[in-house]
């Protein structure tokens, strides 16, 4: 199980802020997790997102392990 967080407009588009995703294997590249999320949430636009694993910036090839927290983030707009 991994904990997936949707931020900003993505919470609206998926109708979900926090989601528990079953991992079929002990680890997988983030790219595969994204595909599983697109399969589950048809409202999640196909766009490049900022992503983080356990609060650290990550990319498509980064490895997600069971128990990790994965954040899917639209472009930041602080300041």
């Amino acid at each position: 199980m991994i904990r997936v967080l949707f931020f900003g407009m993505l919470a609206g588009k998926t109708g979900c802020r926090e989601f528990s995703l079953d991992m079929k294997k002990p680890q997988a590249p983030l790219k595969e997790v994204m595909e599983a999320l697109h399969a589950r949430f048809s409202g999640l636009p196909r766009a490049p997102y900022m992503t983080a694993i356990n609060e650290e910036q990550a990319e498509a090839s980064s490895v997600v392990k069971d128990g990790d927290e994965v954040a899917i983030m639209p472009p930041f707009s602080g300041g």
Partner: protein, 145 residues
């Protein structure tokens, strides 16, 4: 325990005082010859629409961590003495204070460069999202590249 406002990098709902943050930097060292601050405030107009209020969502934990990293990077990158960064996440009416970056240095050039670099980099690296409330309802802000 230290008061929240003793912390030089923070995300808070409360408003902040520019004077107080500047004073902390001045008290930090008698070598300080220049303090440059950037204060971001909520405008009443955005993309042609009248704004009633703005609000911020943060990725709690990561946002503060990235802001702390921002300060550390600025201290490595520029000939400055200290940096303070405060960002609010509460509902803010037009005219209200959003973010403060305050930089102290011996000389002004480094203070200006570091302060501008900090706010530019904050916008790129700190997971915060702005929502605007207008007459037509709420909408998330899509940043310009």
């Amino acid at each position: 325990m230290a008061e929240a406002k003793d912390r030089p990098v923070r995300i808070q709902t409360d408003d902040f005082s520019v004077e107080e943050e500047v004073l902390r930097l001045r008290e930090g060292s008698l070598r300080v010859g220049a303090v440059v601050t950037f204060l971001g405030t909520a405008r009443d107009f955005s993309e042609g629409r009248s704004i009633r209020a703005i609000e911020f969502e943060q990725y709690s934990g990561m946002a503060l961590r990235e802001m702390t990293r921002l300060k550390e990077d600025a201290l490595k990158r520029f000939a400055i003495i200290d940096v303070r960064i405060v960002h609010r996440v509460s509902r803010i009416a037009p005219g209200g204070q959003i973010v403060l970056i305050a930089v102290s240095a011996e000389h002004r050039k480094a203070a200006f460069e570091a302060c501008l670099w900090c706010i530019d980099t904050l916008k790129k690296t700190v997971p915060l999202w702005k929502k605007e409330t207008t007459e037509e309802g709420e909408s998330w802000v899509v940043p310009h590249p």
